[in-house]
Amino acid sequence: MKLLVCLLTVFGLAGAQEIKLPPSIEKLADKADEVVDVTLDANMLGVAAKFLSEGNQDEATAKKLVSGLKGIYVRSFEFSKEGEYSVADVDALRAQYQPPVWSRMVGVRSKKSGEHTDVFIRQANGNIAGLAVIAAEPRELTIVHISGNIDPEQLQHLGGEFGIPKLELEKKKQATTPEAKPQAK
């Protein structure tokens, strides 16, 4: 088992650029209070999709999303205290998502909260062929790697589905926008 943990985990097989998860990140499972480890290749996605119900909204959305995917890999670690993982290791992972294959779509860094989130996409023939999210927080590290065709419209709706409430950002924006004052004649 220890040997298996030490071996490099490889994301995104079958012809795509392989992303190697550093062994030091895999070993975080021993230190973390909570670990989420999901590895679903094309076969398992096919099996899972058969059991998704059209009657359930979340599952119906998932079924549409999954139809073009080749793999979903998630590693999420939650720690009881800060400083349990090395920023250098996370940077080494981020460095693998480089052009020309990958491009960074969003990069958010907050000194206040210590959060650093990057969203990468891989494009092929004008379509999105991969998505990666690396979210590093002081007590939590999450790595998501999705390979396969993703519909941009589904991607847009992905935030706010599966039990995660959509934030009413549009209404909030309208409330804060000052009303235009009529010009005096």
Partner: protein
């Protein structure tokens, strides 16, 4: 009392059987068919090839059906487990994308 004793002695005294009694008993024993136990009756049935074949076929069918049910049950379990993992993965992805989106909106509002 003595009369009672005499009557009892007479009633329980040894009586000699009639002539030919032993021969009659032996003849009757030989005439009766031998008793066959249940096991011997059942095993006798299996001497018939057709019945043997039918029994083996029935057992094979029961085994095949049992294995089929077990495989189906395992497939269903695996499928449900895969589905749960998929939904969890999508929830986590959704949550992190939402966080990034919120941060971008907050920055653009400032």
């Amino acid at each position: 009392m003595s009369r009672l004793e005499d009557d009892l002695r007479q009633a329980l005294s040894r009586q000699e059987p009639s002539d030919g009694f032993a021969d009659r008993v032996l003849a009757r024993v030989q005439a009766e068919p031998p008793r066959v136990s249940l096991w011997e009756r059942l095993s006798g049935l299996f001497r018939m090839p057709a019945l043997r074949l039918a029994t083996v076929a029935a057992l094979c069918m029961v085994l095949a059906i049992g294995i089929g049910f077990e495989q189906q049950r395992r497939s269903r379990e695996q499928g449900e487990a895969a589905k749960q993992k998929l939904m969890l993965a999508l929830r986590i992805t959704s949550s992190k994308l939402q966080t990034a989106r919120t941060a971008v909106h907050s920055i653009s509002e400032e």
